[in-house]
Structures are given as structure tokens and as C-alpha cells.
Symmetry: C2
Amino acid sequence: MVRKIPEGDNRLRLVCPDCGYIAYENPKVVVGSVATLGGKILLCKREIGPRRGYWTLPAGFLELDETTQDGAIREALEEASARIEILTLLAVYNIRRISQVQLIYRAKLLAPDIAPGPESQEVGLFAWDDIPWPDIAFPSVHWALNHHREIGDETVFTLRTNPPGETGDY
Amino acid sequence: MVRKIPEGDNRLRLVCPDCGYIAYENPKVVVGSVATLGGKILLCKREIGPRRGYWTLPAGFLELDETTQDGAIREALEEASARIEILTLLAVYNIRRISQVQLIYRAKLLAPDIAPGPESQEVGLFAWDDIPWPDIAFPSVHWALNHHREIGDETVFTLRTNPPGETGDY
């Protein structure tokens, strides 16, 4: 593959010099949830990099032929063996440096039975004051936890986005 | 490239049999806007397929290293030479069959000077009753126009998603 600007386009693309096939590279969608039961929040300690050993929300890349809601349900199941019900979308975060669009849902944990999947070392349900703040994996996990708390029990609220000036780089 | 399930994964991926490189294919993000000026809505008549000759909102694929807001601004500029200001996110639509996640913003058209870009045959500002309903390009354009009208002047509202039971296939 070579990088060139295809005819009628205005950006460099990966193009096969033999057949002309253009492999478009686009941002990826990450889907996840803040899932609660009795006011406690489900978190997963990462078994994989980046940020192995740090805590995150159940979240991951959306797959082909999957809705964003179904993707968030699958990630909770894969990472924490957790069955969740999706409520509404809490936030859309842009992490431009790594070309990610993160969609984080409010969700209800349907049963307290949780267990680490292959990509988690440990999973837990945390009351607000027990969240392991120094060991949170990513800035957007901080944002989502705080946005979730801000919204509280409101059912009609303004969708959250990146806090002003924050890009998620660190 | 061959299709196989890489070690530690649970899905078929495109893998290079020589070097092992995995080309992950994921859904793409479409960003667009319902941009208004004096209550009229900006629409573009498509010069390209699919649905050439039909009317749509200014929207297109999000590019690498671009926020969703900046992508929606760029698309309005490319397709209608329109300068817009992004307000809030109106809707997130899943078009699962074609693996698209569409993010449609409410926006303000900053000046009435609009003109078709290379991918538009024509552009126009339409009052609600003048919208060319039989010639709308895609189901999600119908959804976005109707959701935009439902919300009216509300500043705090529930983010819209696919209407119940609708998948965007047709």
C-alpha cells in the first residue's frame, strides 16, 4: 500500500498500487457504560495494556454489525460477566489524538453477580467515596464518573461532552 | 489477507498470512448537522451515489484526528460552502446494516451565503412546509428533521436515537 490522494479526494489515503483499492482509515467508536446497582458503580481493573492494573469502566471498540447499545451490553458481559440494561446516553467524548469517539451510556446492573473476564484482573462495585481515584485508567473515565454523579436522578439532561479545554491526552 | 480468528480474540479478522498484521474493520462515524437560519433548514441535493439527486443534510465520514464537532463543521463547508456554529448534539442513530453510527448536531448557519460543493448538485434553505419530503435521500434524514422540529427551542432535551423499531434499512 502507498499513501496518495485519490482522484476527487483531498486527503492522503492508503492505496494499493496494483489494483487501486483504497483502505480508508477512520476514527473508531468506543462504547461503554456507567452501570450501577444500589448506587454502586461497576469498575474493571485492566488485565491488558494500555494502563494494565488500573481501573476503568466496561468499554471497548464497537464491532461491525452491532448497535452502540448492544456493544455496551457486550463489553459489560465480556469484561465483567455483568448483565446490564442500557438507559440513556450519558456522554460523547472525543479523544482526537487517538481518533476515538467514546459513547458512554447510563446503565442498570441487573444482578450483583460479576466476575472478571479475560481482559480484567478484578471487577468491583464501588460507592462514590470508595472509587480508587488515584488508580483510574483514563481521563475520560474520570469525566464519565463525574458527569454521571452530576446528573444524579435527572431523566432529562444535557448530553455531556469533553470538559472545556480537555482533550484526553496525558 | 485471510480471514481468521487471531489468538485471544473471538471474531474473524483480516490477517496478513505473512506478517500477521491484523486489519481491524470497525463501524464508521458519520457526522452532520441540522443547520438553521431564520427557521429555515440547510439541505443539499446529492451529486454522488448512493441516492444521487435526492436531498440530505450536510454530513459525511469523520476523518482521523478530527473531533465530531469539527467534522460536522467541515462537512457543511465542503458540501454547501456553509459556515456553521455547532450547538448541541441532537441525535445518535445506529444504521447497523451498513455499520454506521451517525451523530447529528443542532447548528446555526452563520451567514446565508451557501453554494454547492463538488458533492452537491444544489443547496437550499427550506421552511418546514417547503422541505422536499418525497425526495429525501435517507431514513435518518427524515428522523433528524422530525426530531429537530420536536425539540423546537428547548435547550435541555433528551438526546434522540432511532425511532422505535426503525433500523434505517430500506
